[in-house]
Symmetry: C2
Subunit: 336 residues, 2 copies
């Protein structure tokens, strides 16, 4: 008798707004590790906005999620069996097993994580891909100097929260944009941002621009853009000469609707550098970034918050909620 586990596959491509029915929960045999391979029981699954683009069958920086195969995603878990001398049963590891309870991988596609000081889940957030994304965009693209003003959209999220805290540590004024009063209060009171604008109350571009003008009286030098649309145009309306924009995400456009940039003239007049980036392009930056982020979280200088859905079957709804901003901080699915 073969032991089984559960996985979620993409059953069909979305048409318009996402519905949970595009995913399918399956029960399948737990795979057996071959030579040099490791079987991992996944404890946490990471849900991230980039997964939305993978659902579409369109040209992007990554191939589309294949139909009827396990949804992609990063995971942390515990080694359950191993034929690799590099991994022992009980080791904590980071992998990319996707939306499933177990997974088998070659030894060189896993990395050990140290859970003596930090909880396992943080390696999917502030000390993982989202943290490095924040670090790279801020440090390598925005390059803010002390005294400059940094604007971050999706400021309470896994990426934005780290951006603002790193900016504050650099001596910058940090301004966030988030959805709702509760998130904005958290961004200012817990994370230490100087101000936070609630985009749900500022849907009009002029209102957003006016609010930014009050929050950033000296103008904006750096923009870490996770959303696009109104917030990006408003940021451009307040950007200073030689401003930098790290374009990390355009959640709005993930719905399929394209949100244009209207303030094109500001890009020229203010000699703005706008740089789109994907953190996986910059592998050499990861070790240094992770060391700094791990230290920051361990010492309490970098705070983070998680929203944890319980059980694999909760993943589709949690993912749809993430895209609608219903999460608060890093969205995870707890599998064990």
């Amino acid at each position: 008798m073969t032991a089984t586990h559960r996985r979620i596959v993409l059953a069909r491509r979305p048409a318009g707004a996402l519905s949970p029915e595009i995913f399918r929960l399956e029960e399948v045999p737990i795979p057996v590790p071959g030579p040099g391979q490791v079987l991992v029981r996944n404890h946490y699954l990471s849900l991230d906005p980039y997964m939305r683009a993978r659902l579409e069958d369109s040209k992007s920086y990554a191939p589309p999620q294949p139909l009827d195969e396990t949804m992609v995603g990063s995971t942390v878990g515990v080694v359950a069996a191993s034929t690799s001398p590099a991994f022992a049963v009980g080791d904590r590891v980071l992998g990319r097993f996707g939306w499933q309870e177990y997974g088998v991988a070659d030894e060189n596609s896993l990395s050990k994580i140290d859970t003596r000081v930090l909880p396992m889940s943080v390696y999917l957030g502030a000390v993982g891909m989202p943290g490095v994304t924040a670090w790279y965009g801020l440090r390598m693209i925005c390059e803010p100097k002390a005294g400059e003003t940094v604007l971050v959209s999706a400021a309470s999220g896994a990426v934005g929260s780290v951006v603002g805290q790193l900016a504050k540590a650099t001596g910058c004024r940090a301004i966030g944009i988030a959805g709702g009063r509760e998130k904005c209060d958290y961004v200012v009171q817990e994370l230490g941002f100087d101000a936070c604008l609630d985009h749900r109350e500022l849907t009009d571009p002029t209102a957003m621009s006016d609010a930014l003008g009050q929050a950033a009286p000296a103008g904006i030098d750096c923009v870490f853009e996770n959303v696009g649309g109104v917030s990006l145009d408003a940021a451009l309306s307040r950007i200073n000469a030689f401003g930098r924009i790290a374009l990390c995400g355009i959640i709005a456009a993930f719905t399929g609707e394209l949100i244009p940039i209207h303030n094109v003239r500001q890009l020229l007049v203010m000699r703005v550098k706008l740089q789109g980036f994907i953190v996986s392009d910059h592998v050499t930056a990861w070790p240094g970034a992770l060391a700094e982020l791990g230290q920051g979280v361990a010492t309490g200088r970098i705070k983070y918050r998680e929203t944890i859905a319980q059980g694999l079957e909760a993943a589709p709804a949690a993912f749809i909620g993430l895209l609608a901003g219903r999460n608060f901080g890093k969205q995870l699915v707890k599998l064990v």
Copy 2:
């Protein structure tokens, strides 16, 4: 009896489309040089698209053109009187005297030009500000490598023509966009571009994108953007991963109409760097650029074309024609 000369001032700010009536021709006394000053008889006046933005009383990288004062602009001419030991009567100089027949300036605001090999007018074009603009945007922002594809809008103009020729000299495929068959033929047959698209025949974004796909089968690596609007969106639709866009001008928006960028997702997905720039910010780049451009023009490797309006009184109509693309190559006004 005081000798007089003519100048053109801005009489009022434009409302909508430009008309010659916003300018006023005046006869005024020829100024007398004070200590350390130089009187220059201007031979050529340069007309450039940046002047359009100066007509407006809005925040930009340069202060607006003051009303009732001589219109700004670069000029080349001959020293008519001098109290400076650095300049003698008969010296050829580059200055910023604007739309007038004579001008007085401090010795340190003029630079001598060598007209033994090159004609005087070229210091306002390929070996002047437009040439350095082309050089800076291509070399310092686009940084194309041999084998890459470079797209240039306004390709027959003072800036675009140099961009394409420098790109060809680097071993790139150069594709131009220009207005009309005659300009496109010149861009390909005289300047040596690999292809040129006529934007008058490709006003629809999809048609422009399709034409670009044919002209750039390997995609576009660098965009030198002089125009904005449809050409920029089409370029984004064909841009390769890690593409670079030097944003030099947005002529379309100079009418007051804002042309949004629609293909925002491409900026992210293709990890594009878009950099707005103004060549006057980069003074340290000028000497090296001018040396290379002067050498290129002197040896015939860089070709250029001029449209010359006759007499100061022709400046307003020539300027309006420039903004409408009625010039062919560098637009000048011959004063002597």
